[in-house]
């Protein structure tokens, strides 16, 4: 016996250790300590066979493992709850909003209008809306308008995107995409960020975009006021403009302000962008954001479009609402709008329950619209500028199908929920045969886990059973359902 005891104790400890591998890792240490302590007690008292005692550890470990599995299953089931559904959608919407806030392009797309009175600040294009993103106005046109369009515009400015090298301290050269701009451009924009310093001895002024200041000038704190050489000519760094204030088309990193004499050196065929401020009295309907100028030149009538910055800034939101409208119109063509028949039997579908059900549908719809809205804007404007045709195509191409899919899912999800507790129905059972459809009922039955009712979905819609039908279960069915049914019940 005395020789048997140590060997059986060692074997028992081995069994306990082996069984411990079945225990969930979070509980393992404590579980081992308890079993080892009890085993030690059994061995000391010689109260029983340690090996036989330790074999129980396997059952104990197995129970803990299966209980964890049951817990996970319950957690998965809880996902079918209305609150869980709204929380998930809310989280997706919040993530979308965060994506919009963190991606600079998307943040600009959602930000308020940057320049003062953007309804009267227009970009002139000779190629419709597409021309607002490409240089479409020739220098010759600009010169002509400057003298004879004072009745249309209070101010007119011009800039031409070029690539130039900026030499700093004589040795460091930075290659920048910049715009050669007329000196009245900062005044037209009327933004504090674009305030130019008084011209210093006829030197040109260079405004640098903040992102370029960080990337190309290593966030040099003393950059403003320095004299640099742009393509061999001296220029003073006049300011660093925040990216949010930099909404001019052309994708430039810097703006070189030149006076009329310097700008006059450009050939007449050089193309650029023309920005103007409209006279209120001339364009009473400027709020629509788009107007045309017709000009007769050498016997031919030329048409120029004036597209307001307000119109361009509103594009992301306007386009999204257009996609939303389109999706709502197209929805009936892709899915049935009816949610099914929910008869108010035995007073169970009372007003409050019905109200909650419709509010849940409304909340889901609002959340999916927000999700699609935020994510489509984040996707479209993360890498493309506001107003560019690429961003418009991406936004329209993503938001319309996504909204259509989201609305379909919203309706599908609503149909698959118990109208009382709003949890997803479960345990689908096929009943009947399609061949007997006209003789007997055939379709799928879903049941509420809390015992509120059964949903009948016909296999083939008929004139007497055209849509899914909800059947309320009365109290006599309660014994078949778990006791927590009352928690989710009416």
């Amino acid at each position: 016996m005395s020789r048997e005891q140590p060997s059986s104790a060692a074997l028992a400890r081995f069994f306990v250790r082996a069984a411990s591998h079945m225990v969930p890792s979070g509980n393992r240490r404590e579980w081992m300590a308890e079993w080892n302590a009890e085993l030690c007690h059994v061995c000391r008292l010689r109260a029983g066979d340690p090996v036989q005692f330790s074999l129980g550890a396997f059952q104990d470990a197995f129970w803990l493992r299966s209980d964890r599995l049951r817990f996970r299953t319950r957690a998965v089931r809880a996902r079918g709850s209305a609150v869980g559904c709204l929380l998930s959608l809310g989280m997706l919407a919040a993530c979308g909003l965060l994506a919009c806030l963190f991606l600079p392009g998307a943040r600009r797309a959602l930000s308020a209008e940057t320049y003062r009175d953007p309804g009267n600040l227009v970009i002139i294009s000779s190629d419709g809306y597409a021309g607002t993103q490409l240089p479409s106005i020739s220098m010759a046109d600009y010169r002509e308008w400057k003298t004879d369009t004072s009745r249309l515009f209070t101010q007119l400015a011009f800039y031409r995107p070029v690539t130039g090298s900026v030499s700093l301290d004589g040795n460091r050269v930075v290659k920048l995409s910049m715009a050669l701009a007329s000196d009245n451009l900062p005044r037209i924009l009327e933004s504090s960020a674009w305030k130019a310093r008084p011209a210093d001895g006829g030197r040109r002024q260079l405004f640098v975009r903040r992102s370029s200041w960080s990337a190309d000038f290593q966030s040099d704190p003393g950059l403003v006021g320095k004299t640099v050489s742009v393509e061999g000519e001296p220029a003073v760094i006049a300011g660093i403009v925040p990216d949010d204030q930099w909404r001019l088309p052309g994708g430039m990193k810097a703006l070189l302000i030149e006076d009329d004499r310097q700008l006059g050196a450009l050939p007449g065929t050089a193309r650029g962008f023309a920005i103007a401020r409209l006279r209120h009295s001339v364009f009473a309907t400027d709020r629509k954001g788009w107007c045309s100028i017709f000009e007769e030149r050498s016997g031919a009538v030329l048409q120029f479009e004036c597209i307001s910055f307000a119109y361009i800034f509103r594009q992301p939101i306007s386009l999204f609402f257009f996609a939303l409208l389109l999706a709502i119109i197209c929805l009936p063509a892709t899915t049935a709008l009816r949610l099914g028949d929910y008869p108010e039997r035995e007073g169970r579908l009372r007003g409050a329950i019905n109200f909650r059900r419709w509010m849940f549908l409304l909340a889901k719809s609002v959340l999916v619209v927000l999700i699609v809205g935020f994510w489509s804007i984040a996707l479209a404007y993360a890498f493309a500028a506001v107003g560019s045709s690429v961003s418009l195509c991406i936004q329209m191409g993503t938001s319309f199908p996504a909204l259509l899919f989201a609305f379909r899912w919203t309706l599908h999800d609503q149909r698959g929920r118990c109208p009382v507790c709003l949890r997803l129905l479960s345990n689908p059972a096929r009943v009947g045969q399609p061949s007997c459809n006209f003789l007997a009922w055939c379709g799928t039955e879903w049941i509420c886990r809390s015992g509120h009712g059964v949903l009948h979905i016909p296999e083939l819609p008929t004139c007497w059973f055209s849509t899914q039908r909800w059947l309320c279960l009365d109290a006599s069915w309660a014994s078949l359902f778990p006791a927590d049914a009352a928690l989710h019940g009416s």
């Binding site: 302590a37 009890e38 030690c40 005692f53 129980g56 550890a57």
Partner: protein, 104 residues
């Protein structure tokens, strides 16, 4: 709502109530194997009918053994046991109270 206990669970609960606070003690007094008693105690603890605690290290050191885990009834456990006693009238006679002198 009070949980309905199986006979085994009721026996384990009664044993703990009677003063057999360690797993092995419950095994001895109920005659149930370790593979039944420990999972039953886990289930009772999960359902909030009993609570487990580790005994103080000083007590274990004095007895020259590792500290053991002991169990005691919660308020809900006591009320559940009262309900179970009505259902299983012989429970109290099967597992009488442990004499004070033998209590650990």
């Amino acid at each position: 709502m009070e949980a309905r206990l199986s006979h085994t669970a009721a026996m384990v609960l009664q044993a703990i109530h009677a003063g057999y606070v360690y797993g092995f003690g419950v095994m001895e007094v109920t005659g149930l194997p370790s593979g039944t008693v420990y999972p039953a105690m886990r289930r009772l603890e999960r359902d909030g009918l009993i609570l487990s605690k580790w005994e103080q290290q000083s007590i274990a050191d004095a007895a020259q053994r590792p500290p053991r885990k002991y169990y005691r009834l919660t308020r809900m456990g006591k009320s559940t046991l009262e309900a179970a006693a009505k259902r299983y009238p012989l429970l109290e006679r099967m597992i009488p109270q442990q004499p004070e002198t033998e209590r650990v």
